[in-house]
Amino acid sequence: MSAILIFLTVLALGAGWWLSRQGLTVKPWLQVDHAGTVADPGPSRHSPAQLGLGLFLAVVGSLFALLISAYIIRAEAGDWRGFPLPWIVWANTLTLLAASLALEWARSAAQRGALAVARTGVIAGSGAALLFVTGQLVAWASLTESGYDISSGPAGSFFYLMTAAHGLHVVGGIFALGRTLGHIRRADQDNLGWQERKEQAGLVRISVDLAATYWLFMLFVWVVLLLVLSGWAGAFLALCGQILSGSGLT
């Protein structure tokens, strides 16, 4: 369970740091305010949607950390046999990277209010993401063909499980990109009043921002999964595994 514990430790440190700035040591009974003295805190730095996405990614992160934990525990048993990853998964990494870059580009465009550029970025991102999903399916097909189907052995089972979990999140993200495009279309109509246009542009900014964050996270998860599945992380993990099983935590 080392991966999830490390992940949660990072979260706990973050939460602890945040809590330490919330005045948890004040004596609230001594602080009674007079009418008219309670300040409006003003708009907070993050919108609820951004915060919600951050929390959601923490949940998704713990899901993958748990899968990796399970993988490590299983890989330490004596009968583990790895198998060569099909070359296409490495190529897929590039398409996912492209998707993420396109969305970063769209993010900065939306920030400036350049709607047309943002739209191009989102469309390019969606295209690259679709390509990624297709590539992953090709990887499955080629694996199955060469005899490594889902029940062929533990390494294979984990490969399908983890890529499927990641792939479903990517597909969900593609649907969300569709919504983002909808926002852009609405903001780009000619018959909008000045006020309405400003509001719509705000929605676009947030929507594209959320999308870019999400895809960056998906890229990160994929790279970590790839390192684990390809065994590149293996040497490193074996080392950690020795240390941790010595201390009794795996």
Binding site: P28, Q31, A39, A77
Partner: protein
């Protein structure tokens, strides 16, 4: 994030809201069925949870029929018995307690107590309920598939959960896993909502340290649930793969009734780690909201500030964090590496300290108080007794070597019923008696409430206190047949019959409660806005029951903490949170 509402640009809740801007549901359907109002969703959650909980209660009678009067009720065979205990346990823990505390009380109380108009993502909130309902229906469906529901125990340990020696190994287990997966998806939508609402939608002046402990408890429990449920999710998906796709994540080479199965190499212990990585935090996911609510009940009805508020908050946070590093105390005799025992026994007993602080502070709140023995207060007091009892027996089971003879016996069953069965249930009842007037505008009958309390509390204690000793004598849990165990004297059979009769009486008292809830809807005393003379915001709404949007035109502003009871010099024995300091008197301190 597929559910970002359209007004996502609203960063802070505006203090004032024009009449036009209040979202008004258009039809009866969107108002009462597909409602996005957290209060309606709360009621939907609560009614669904109590309904399925009632099924679990009936199952507990069937279990007790068999245990108290073995071989008398022949329609309960071993197969059915295991299905009953499995469904009873799973429903109680997940579909009743978790759903009711977070989906029910969380939805109703968080926006009202922090002074928000609603949850921040109302649409996701609505979806959360409907997915939960679907999960419940899938669970119920498993009673009707060939082979019936799974009988693998609520822990669903492989390999037996999916092999043929266990009832419901075909349809039942699959539906159970699917239902759990749905539950987790639905909960995650709700949970993100509760968390972001607490973080971002608090009204002006509502600092974290001014939040009532109820909100603190639900808040921390929700975060824990968000991070712990993925473990169950992963375990359930992997087991489904094993069952349906022939993988061997949890399945070693094994031979069932002379036949080699095609599995091999998997690890049953891996499942146990994943399960308890969720399962132990789950105990506190149920306990922390109960802790929070009971603190507020005691303080309100004893007319005294909760003692040691800061310690109470810190303890909630510390318990929440620590409960992620104790999971394997459920696995002392599972065959895991024996050295784990040292580590997990130590962490487990460390948690006892902040937990004990909470108990002390509840009791110390009663010191020099002005105690009103209302029904909610009685339930809160009953909670303290059962919780202390169950918490202390937890020290037996946490202390690894004492656990060795006791684990997997009826002692464990007695322990967890005291601490996470009866104790939270008592809090739920206390909370219902306390907040029913806000939800419906009418009081529940106090006379029936007191009857309900006494029978439930005394009865439950009589069921579960002696049960510890049945376990001590060596009776294992999940035994269809205990009467013929050699170490059990004949007197134990009498004792079992006694516990069963107590269980039926307790069950009967719950009917009185249901009657009370229904009857008082029309016939209860008019409650007024603040019948308990409480300080927290939900009692200061302009209308009772609160309307959609909760606060009318203007959000309340918070000037003080939630526990200004019996403040020296104040004209009344409570000062609401939205009342500013008197210009002349200054702060009471």
């Amino acid at each position: 994030m597929a559910n970002i509402p359209h007004d996502a640009t609203n960063t802070a809740p505006p203090a004032e809201l024009g009449e036009m801007e209040l979202y008004h549901p258009k039809s009866w359907w969107t108002k009462y069925v597909f409602s996005q109002d957290a209060k309606i969703i709360a009621i939907q959650y609560a009614v669904t949870a109590l309904a399925i909980g009632f099924v679990a209660l009936v199952l507990s009678w069937l279990i007790r029929l068999q245990l108290g009067f073995p071989n008398t009720f022949t329609f309960i065979d071993a197969e059915r018995y295991y299905q009953f205990i499995t469904m009873h346990g799973m429903i109680m823990v997940v579909y009743l307690l978790t759903a009711l505390f977070l989906g029910g009380f969380g939805n109703y109380l968080i926006p009202l107590m922090v002074g928000a108009r609603d949850m921040v993502f109302p649409y996701a909130n609505m979806l959360s309920y409907w997915i939960y309902l679907l999960a419940v229906l899938v669970l119920v469906a498993s009673f009707f598939v060939p082979g019936g529901p799974t009988g693998a125990g609520w822990t669903l340990y492989p390999p037996q959960a999916i092999t043929s020696g266990t009832p419901g190994d075909e349809g039942g287990i699959i539906l159970m896993l699917v239902s759990l997966i749905l539950f987790i998806i639905g909960f995650t939508m709700g949970g993100l909502n509760y968390t972001v609402t607490v973080l971002q939608a608090r009204t002006r002046g509502m600092t974290l340290m001014r939040m009532p402990l109820t909100v603190w408890g639900i808040f921390v429990a929700t975060i824990m649930a968000l991070l712990a449920f993925p473990a169950l999710f992963v375990a359930a998906v992997m087991m489904l793969f094993d069952k349906l796709l022939g993988t061997s994540f949890f399945m070693p080479t094994l031979v069932e009734f002379g036949e080699q199965l095609s599995y091999g190499g998997g690890s049953p212990i891996l499942f146990q780690h994943l399960f308890w990585f969720f399962g132990h935090p789950e105990v506190y996911i149920v306990a922390l909201p109960a802790f929070g609510i009971v603190s507020d009940l005691i303080s309100t009805h004893a007319r005294r500030n909760i003692f040691g508020y800061r310690m109470m908050v810190w303890a909630i946070v510390i318990i929440g964090a620590l409960s992620f590093v104790v999971w394997a105390h459920h696995m002392y005799v599972s065959g895991m590496h024996p050295y784990f025992g040292f580590w997990f026994a130590t962490t487990t007993l460390i948690i006892a300290v902040p937990t004990a602080i909470k108990v002390y502070n509840w009791v110390l709140t009663l010191w020099r108080a002005d105690i009103h023995f209302t029904t909610p207060m009685l339930f809160a007091l009953g909670f303290i007794v059962t919780f202390v009892n169950g918490g202390l027996s937890g020290l037996f089971l946490g202390n690894v070597v004492v656990d060795v003879p006791l684990s997997d016996t009826m002692f464990v069953v007695a322990h967890f019923h005291m601490v996470m069965g009866i104790a939270p249930i008592l809090v739920i009842y206390g909370a219902i008696y306390h907040w029913y007037p806000k939800v419906t505008g009418r009081m529940l009958s106090e006379a029936l409430g007191k009857f309900h309390f006494w029978v439930t509390f005394v009865g439950a204690y009589l069921i579960f206190f002696p049960m510890h000793y049945v376990g001590l004598m060596g009776a294992p849990r999940r035994y269809f047949e205990t009467s013929d165990i050699m170490v059990l004297p004949d007197s134990a059979i009498t004792l079992n019959a006694f516990m069963s009769i107590a269980a039926f009486v307790v069950g009967f008292a719950q009917m009185v409660f249901i009657f009370n809830v229904v009857w008082s809807l029309k016939n209860g005393k008019e409650a007024g806005g603040n019948p308990w003379r409480a300080t927290t915001l939900e009692w200061q709404t302009p209308k009772t029951p609160p309307e959609h949007g909760n606060w009318g035109k203007e959000l309340p502003i918070v000037y003080r903490w939630a526990y200004d009871y019996s403040v020296p010099g104040a004209p009344e024995d409570f000062v609401p949170q939205n009342q500013p300091a008197a210009a002349t008197q200054g702060a009471p301190s």
